[in-house]
Amino acid sequence: MNDQLLWFASRGSGIVSLLLLTAVTVLGLISIVRWQRPTWPRFVTADLHSNLALLSVVFVGVHIVAAILDPFAKLGISAAVIPFDSSYRPLWVGLGVISVYLVIALIVTSLLRERIGQRTWRAVHWVAYGAWPLAVLHSAGSGSDAFAAWMVTIEAACIVAVTIALTWRLVAARNIRNELPLVVAATTASHAPFADTDR
């Protein structure tokens, strides 16, 4: 029964982590396109994004600990911290390890953003586009019930959600780019009034 418990805990927390990470990614993309409603100001999107990210760390932590303790998974600590070091499906587990490291980098830099400055923070935040796909691949390849219908459904839903949000972000790119120089350049005035400039 205890073995079953660890296995359920590992799987369950893993799935919740994936769902949370999916939500975090979607909220991040919604934040970029500056979507808002009178009842949903933009700081709500931003705060939810960061709070769910922190929550996902908790569940990932449970997932990793349960997986290590589970005797049937045969995973040691080194498998959890060194990518591709596990004897059980090294590739898929390794992708998960990398994904966790990326998430940690994102969270740590975000907590220290005022200290490290905007530019550094932004540069690191680009790895966000890698963290979620790696988590999906890890979940598809590592679980022993990866092909169960319900599991496939969950993963498909996550992929659909992020795809829609990403498409929205790419389409809305026009609204996001820096329009100040464009507004100024659109002005037709070229000559200086009253002035004889050919001196």
Binding site: L180, T187, F194, A195, T197
Partner: protein
């Protein structure tokens, strides 16, 4: 009217004064024994780049921070199209400017002089370049840099930004150049006219300088007059009244009723209030008007003040550095709306909107470019209040211009 000082000597048409002529006329460069900062402070010389900041105080601020590694930026960008004094001075008296630069550089402990000259001012660039080569064994490095042809390129922080990073857009201050400028060193940014006067004061003393001047501010100044038969650059005594200058420039009592004072970033004023105003930075400031860059652009009787303001605002909007939202969108909005008023397609609520935006835009950019545009607009709405009123009611232009044209000839 006293004798010209900066413009004394051969006429401008004679071109750049050579080193030998310059020395023959004025004597050689004064030695370094005089305490220049004290002398300049005592003279009351005010900066001629537009802010009228006391030159002595600026010299002191940089000298106090310099460890012998300060920089001097000689500002000859003259991005204000209505002003021609700097280019005229550079083209005809380059050695006077160089004298001033060398003296100031010595006083602040600088190890480099950068001559920042507007790219459109070809004669000035050539004259200064030739003048530098005429001098042998300069005590420090002197280089000539061509300033981009843009309105804000002559702004202090923009000039320093361009020297440091090739980007002539203003930066957020603090820190100001006197604290950290070129190469992060204390930098003195001084207009060419200010340095030319400095060179004269170093030779003839602060008392000599103070012999001229009718009001609060001593000395003389260069002004650029346009919109008049005898316009152009002239040297006038501080405190000369605008009406006198109008007369000197050939304007009769029925030729003009309004003048733009200071530059595009300045203020309109009408004959009733303005002709009695003295050209004195301190006295003008208490009257809410700027001396600016000594621009006096008279508006002819057949010209519409609203249309003129709209054209200038359009230009100011186009010259925004495009860094700050309130400037980019704000100037665009007030320019478009003023143009609508001038073209008689606006309503009275548009006038209210102009005032609202003026309040929103002022002081919210990194530099004072939007402030200048707002100041111009508000002064126009006061000076041409009746015109704005009739235009917004679409009942014609008081200047009797059948179709107000925005293509105003110089």
């Amino acid at each position: 009217m006293i004798q010209p000082r900066l413009l004394a000597g051969p006429p401008a048409a004679a071109g750049a004064e050579t080193l030998s002529d310059h020395v023959a006329r004025l004597g050689s460069l004064p030695g370094v024994e005089r305490d220049l900062v004290r002398t300049i402070t005592a003279s009351g010389l005010l900066g001629r780049g537009g802010a009228a900041f006391p030159v002595g105080r600026k010299l002191h601020a940089v000298a106090a921070r310099s460890l012998g590694d300060a920089r001097l930026l000689v500002n000859g960008a003259e991005g204000e199209p209505l002003s021609a004094k700097d280019r005229a001075l550079m083209a005809s008296r380059p050695h006077l400017i160089l004298d001033g630069a060398l003296l100031a550089a010595n006083a602040i402990g600088a190890r480099e002089i950068v001559l920042y000259v507007g790219s459109a001012h070809r004669e000035g660039q050539l004259a200064l370049a030739r003048a530098v080569s005429e001098r042998r064994r300069l005590p420090l490095r002197v280089r000539l840099v061509s300033a981009p042809h843009a309105y804000v390129a002559g702004e202090e922080s923009a000039a320093v930004h361009f020297i440091n990073q090739g980007d002539a857009r203003p930066t957020v201050t603090p820190p100001r150049p006197f604290e950290r400028g070129i190469d992060d060193m204390p930098t003195l940014v001084q207009n060419v006219e200010s340095l030319a006067y400095l060179a004269l004061i170093a030779r003839f003393g602060e008392d000599w300088y103070r012999q001229a001047g009718r009001g609060q501010t001593p000395g003389t100044a260069l002004v650029t007059v346009s919109g008049a038969p005898n316009g152009g650059v002239r040297e006038v005594e501080m405190g000369t009244r605008i009406g006198e200058i109008a007369q000197m420039s050939g304007l009769g009592p029925h030729d003009s009723d309004a003048v733009l004072l200071g530059g595009y970033f300045g203020r309109w004023t009408t004959r009733d209030l303005g002709w009695a105003l003295p050209l004195d930075p301190v006295l003008l400031q208490s009257a809410g008007a700027p001396f600016g860059t000594g621009v006096l652009s008279f508006l002819g009787m057949g010209q519409c003040g609203v249309a003129a303001t709209a054209a200038i605002l359009d230009y100011m909007a186009a010259q925004s550095a495009a860094q700050c939202g309130p400037c980019v969108f704000g100037l665009r909005s007030i320019a478009d709306t003023t143009r609508a008023v001038a073209s008689e397609v606006a309503t009275s609520s548009d006038l209210g909107r102009l005032e609202r935006w003026a309040g929103q835009i002022d002081g919210r950019g990194a530099c004072r470019h939007p402030d200048g545009a707002v100041g111009l607009l508000l002064s126009a709405m006061t000076a041409f209040a009746a015109d704005f009123e009739t235009h917004s009611r679409r009942s014609g232009c008081l200047a009797n211009v059948a179709r107000p044209s925005l293509e105003v000839a110089a």
